[in-house]
């Protein structure tokens, strides 16, 4: 992400004190733990800059679910509004804020794209990653069947109900393999861990790539 954003002229800073937005606790029902981390995130990031995050899931936590988490804490609403307005998922930032599609990437190969659930259904970001992928020079982009269906990760769901999770994943892998792509691209670490974890375990030679990795690529 650093490489891509610098390539297109973005001045970057990284706050070394940042940790987690609190989503794992929130999604598991531990709201008081989540609130502590959410407050920490909000005060750390309450600055004038744009906040860019390479994950649909973390971004939707900040932009959508912080309001839910603090629905009974009106004193928090202002800071949430302020921070969440400036927070953007990586592809959303490039396409909708910077109004760019071609970031000067080169990748000679066939790739497919998996829509991560939170990016697609919470943040409604569907076309942005596709625009960026299609603008990569040399790329052969192919849509998979049901690209918008869940990969089965779901955070702690993947550990609480491992067999159901992997069974959902099986169908996702089937759709990925059927495209004949050599790499599957997505914009969420959770999905990539889930999909990549099974591809590796089964020794299936398909690479998993974050959208930022693809856009950083200049391999011929």
């Amino acid at each position: 992400m650093v490489e891509v954003l610098r390539r297109i002229g973005v001045d970057l800073d990284f706050l070394g004190d940042q940790t987690c937005c609190g989503q794992p606790a929130f999604n598991s029902g531990y709201h008081s733990d989540a609130k502590i981390l959410a407050k920490r995130f909000l005060s750390l990031f309450d600055r004038d800059d744009y906040i860019v995050c390479p994950s649909g899931s973390c971004t939707s936590m900040v932009k959508i679910f912080y309001k839910e988490l603090f629905k009974n804490n009106p004193e928090m609403h202002e800071i949430i509004e302020r921070v969440s307005l400036r927070t953007h998922e990586f592809s959303d930032f490039i396409v909708n804020v910077l109004k760019m599609k071609d970031v000067g990437a080169y990748y000679a190969g066939k790739v497919t794209y998996h829509d991560s659930c939170h990016l697609l259904r919470e943040l409604k970001i569907k076309d942005e990653p596709r625009k960026l992928i299609n603008s990569v020079k040399g790329i052969d982009f192919i849509e998979m069947n049901n690209s918008d269906s869940c990969c089965g990760f779901g955070g702690t769901f993947s550990i609480k109900f491992p067999d159901v999770s992997v069974s959902i994943l099986d169908e996702k892998l089937e759709n990925i393999i059927n495209t004949g792509a050599e790499a599957v691209v997505s914009a969420d670490m959770g999905c990539l861990m889930q999909i990549g974890g099974a591809l590796k375990r089964r020794k299936i030679p398909i690479e998993t790539m974050h959208l930022a990795e693809l856009l950083a690529s200049d391999r011929g």
Binding site: T19, S28, G29, E68, G154, I159, K160, F161, V164, K200
Partner: protein
């Protein structure tokens, strides 16, 4: 709630290993998804219809007492009798009493999830009254002694071959394999039951308050027969099914049929306003409407989860759900399955009976997008998860969740301190070498509870130099111009 089974992992494990079920689930949910998609594409203003329907339901539920009283008033005006049942026991008692007063020996039933919810057949049988399900799917599962596995298609877990075998064994007939033959046999058997029955029991898809009309949609004609042939008709309906005005009905019929089966309109829509009138030749002599609460007013009392009551039981969320598609209906342990089951079962039954259900979702949100009433199921799931955790905390119960809450707390504490966080990921880099029997690029073994991950999936290795250390080296590099 005797049939309640609550170990989601255990139940779903059976389903995952059942190859026939896996095939049936995939085939049926694909077909339902496809049909729904086609049916809503025919409507220009589908999103508007959803919004209008939601607004109507929202207003109705917010003044539910008023609308239910209006409904009662109008049903009574039409010559019907209205009963209020606070729970399953009371509803069963009311229906049994109607049956005993009417000297009922046999009952025919059209499809009704509410009667499944109160286990009415069981109670009728115990009282020596025969109760026969007349919807083909329900008839099949009644013969098999099972419960519905889908809100609108109760027998989707059964293949054609399963049904051939079941019919031949239970009905003592030759082994027929053609669906046409099987349907003909069911129809012959059921026609006799219809003619003999003293009482018909149905559910209700909607009840129109201003006219005192209950509305039943179906595709087989069995509900029409159930509600017109026997001399007594009893309809059991959850409190939330009321709609205010007759003019609202067209909208609800359309969104229900399109979302459920992908039809423009169901084959049969019966509008029933009371018993037979003096001028009429057909119809029952008595008409009873039983309004079932059974936990619904608890949902009504909660601002956070009230929208669970907007549901019109179309089943679209089941068909789109990646979890339902794999585990089927029975894994959810009660009559309501899929995403809607995961939110209403724990609220109607209590968390002690359904503690797993709010967690049995990947929160992918596909259900919210297909719901004709735009019920934000993921949001309600998140709220219920929090309630489960809070309830556990208050009761100080020791169990798996004690370890989980301790784990979350330790994790949260480490996330509050960048230094601890840094130390942990550095430590993880060294520790992973002990566990790692993989190729050096992936972790293949993990300690519990993460061992559940590593059973079927690798994990990327922790970096030797975490990003926050690398950042110190690259932060002063020039922006490319």
């Amino acid at each position: 709630m005797g049939l309640y089974r609550h170990d989601f992992n255990k139940e779903s494990d059976k389903a995952l290993k059942d190859e026939n079920l896996q095939k049936a689930l995939r085939f049926t949910t694909d077909r339902f998804r496809e049909r729904r998609k086609t049916a809503i594409a025919e409507v220009d203003n589908w999103e508007d219809l959803r919004s209008i329907a939601r607004e109507i339901k929202k207003e109705t539920i917010s003044r539910l007492d008023t609308y239910l009283e209006l409904l009662e008033e109008n049903i009574v005006k039409n010559g019907g009798i209205v009963h209020w049942a606070k729970d399953a026991d009371e509803a069963t008692k009311i229906i049994l009493e109607i049956a005993l007063n009417g000297k009922v020996k046999s009952v025919v039933k059209s499809k009704s999830m509410a009667t499944e919810e109160i286990e009415l057949n069981h109670a009728l049988n115990n009282a020596g009254i025969e109760a026969i399900e007349t919807d083909l799917g329900e008839y099949i599962i009644q013969l098999a002694g099972e419960t519905p596995s889908h809100i609108i298609a109760p027998a989707i877990h059964k293949t054609k071959e399963d049904i051939s075998k079941l019919f031949s064994e239970k009905l003592k007939i030759p082994y027929y394999t053609e669906p046409e033959d099987l349907t003909r046999i069911a129809r012959d058997k059921l026609r006799q039951k219809f003619l003999m029955a003293d009482m018909g029991v149905s559910g209700a898809n909607f009840a129109v308050a201003e006219t005192g009309t209950i509305v039943i949609v179906e595709n087989e004609g069995n509900a029409r027969l159930t509600t017109t042939l026997p001399r007594i008709h009893v309809a059991l309906m959850g409190l939330e099914k009321v709609i205010p005005r007759f003019e609202d009905l067209a909208l609800f019929l359309s969104i229900l049929a399109r979302s459920a089966t992908g039809q423009k309109m169901s084959s049969y829509v019966s509008l029933i306003s009371g018993p037979k009138r003096k001028s009429e030749k057909d119809g029952p002599e008595e008409f009873h409407l039983v309004l079932l609460d059974n936990g619904r007013s608890n949902i009504l009392a909660s601002d956070e989860t009230r929208e669970s009551l907007y549901c019109i039981r179309c089943g679209a969320c089941l068909n789109i759900c990646p979890v339902y598609r794999k585990v089927g209906g029975h894994s959810y342990g009660w009559v309501y399955s899929g995403p809607i089951g995961a939110i209403i079962s724990p609220q109607l039954l209590g968390f002690d009976k359904a503690p797993d259900l709010p967690f049995a979702s990947s929160l992918c949100g596909a259900c919210k997008d297909v719901c004709p009433l735009k019920i934000d199921i993921p949001k309600v799931l998140l709220e219920l998860r929090n309630r489960v955790i809070e309830e556990n905390r208050k009761m100080n119960r020791v169990g798996v969740r004690t370890f989980e809450s301790l784990g979350i707390k330790l994790w949260r504490l480490s996330m509050q301190s960048p230094r601890v966080y840094m130390a942990l990921i550095t430590l993880a880099y060294y520790v992973q070498k002990l566990w790692n029997r993989g190729n050096g690029h992936n972790i293949t073994l993990l300690p519990p509870p993460f061992s559940q991950w590593a059973k079927n999936r690798d994990l990327p290795v922790f970096a030797k130099k975490p990003f926050r250390k690398r950042w110190d080296e690259i932060k002063d590099e020039q922006v490319w111009e």
